[in-house]
């Protein structure tokens, strides 16, 4: 039987430099390199991925926020315009009503005033008539009886 040591030494101290049958094919190293460096790239990608998400998320948040603010402002503006239009219309109708009311009030007042004035005049005339009558009557009473009965 052979000695284990003999076989061990043959492989341990083998000079493989001139053993061309042991030359790996040319595609092996490029495959190894591709696997190693693509893995490295992948590792970087995994490291960078959270940052990419964070930045992307922040940008999206700001973009959405800005557009929401713009929408709100536009909405507020349009609402304000609508409100002002409505207000204007309301004002116009109120003014119209108010002018109608004022007009009727004014005519009522004029009527009232004229009636008051007329009443006053009538009262004064009556008072004047009465005083004249009383004066005539007193004069007639105080006058001596000149006429024979």
């Amino acid at each position: 039987m052979f000695e284990d040591k003999d076989i061990h030494d043959i492989f341990e101290h083998a000079n493989v430099e001139n053993e061309d049958w042991l030359q790996p094919s040319d595609k092996i190293f490029p495959n190894i390199e591709a696997a190693i460096y693509s893995k490295k790239r992948d590792r970087w990608l995994w490291v960078l991925l959270p940052f990419i998400f964070l930045i992307g998320g922040t940008l999206t948040y700001f973009y959405l926020n800005e557009s929401t603010e713009e929408t709100i402002i536009t909405h507020q503006q349009s609402t304000a315009n609508l409100n002002s239009k409505k207000q204007h219309q309301d004002d116009l109708s109120v003014n119209k009503d108010f002018s109608n009311i004022t007009r009727s009030n004014q005519s009522n007042e004029i009527q009232k005033n004229s009636r008051t004035i007329l009443n006053k005049q009538a009262t004064k005339l009556e008072k004047d008539n009465q005083s004249l009558l009383s004066k005539d009557l007193a004069k007639k009473i105080n006058e001596p009886n000149t006429t024979p009965f």
């Binding site: 492989f11 053993e19 042991l22 030359q23 390199e33 696997a35 190693i36 460096y37």
Partner: protein, 216 residues
């Protein structure tokens, strides 16, 4: 660190010349740098250094793969996987404990075992007929064999025998380590080794007697 001077042509440099310079650089790195220097360069991110490391030991590692896997295409696949693992684990390598070739060879052996396990190749049948028939032992039989012939004789062994034989005789594992690694009992490991030895002896003798002798 000694680096050989490489002549760079003046003026415009063609692609062919660039390839020539790169080849010279690789050769210079291969011949001058020690394993530790190359490993430091690889760890600091040098791609040419990793190529140098590969080119320096790829043949040794392919030989290991061929002892376990038999088929060259499969052996190259295993070598590829092993080098990816070597690159990944290179920072764990401790130069004070072992040589790079010893450490990297262990990674290659483990990758071979992983490949055998993954493909369900490892089967240890106890009832294979013992190789009882023994031929007369020729002392010069082994020394007369080339590395290629001896590797071929080992790869002719059944997979279970071959794995245990490679691990115990060539790669220096103990029966306990083999048993743990292959999930078999220590006695199975011993039996497989004994049968492997006998079968290999028979194969060596066959090879020796069938080989044409050179008469002076």
């Amino acid at each position: 660190m000694n680096i050989q001077r490489i002549a760079i042509p003046a003026g415009r440099v063609s692609k062919k010349e660039i390839n020539g310079i790169l080849a010279d650089t690789n050769q210079a790195l291969q011949t001058k740098q020690t394993d530790i220097e190359i490993i430091h360069a690889v760890l600091s991110g040098s791609k040419p250094a990793f190529r140098t490391l590969y080119e320096r030991y790829a043949k040794n590692h392919l030989l290991t793969c061929l002892r376990y896997v038999k088929n060259k295409i499969d052996a190259e696949d295993v070598l590829q996987d092993a080098y990816i693992l070597i690159y990944r684990d290179l920072k764990q390598y401790d130069a004070t404990k072992s040589k790079y070739i010893t450490w990297s060879n262990k990674v290659v052996v483990n990758t071979c075992l992983m490949h055998l396990r993954k493909n369900n190749i490892l089967k240890f049948s106890e009832d294979i007929n013992d190789v009882a028939f023994q031929m007369p032992v020729n002392e010069n039989a082994i020394s007369a064999l080339s590395l290629k012939e001896l590797t071929q004789l080992i790869t002719q062994l059944p997979k279970g025998y071959r794995t245990v034989f490679n691990m115990f005789v060539i790669d220096g594992y103990s029966h306990r380590e083999i048993a743990e690694s292959l999930q078999i009992s220590i006695s199975t490991s011993k039996t497989q080794l004994l049968k492997a030895r006998r079968m290999l002896q028979q194969n060596i003798n066959n090879q020796h007697y069938t080989k044409p002798q050179n008469h002076v």
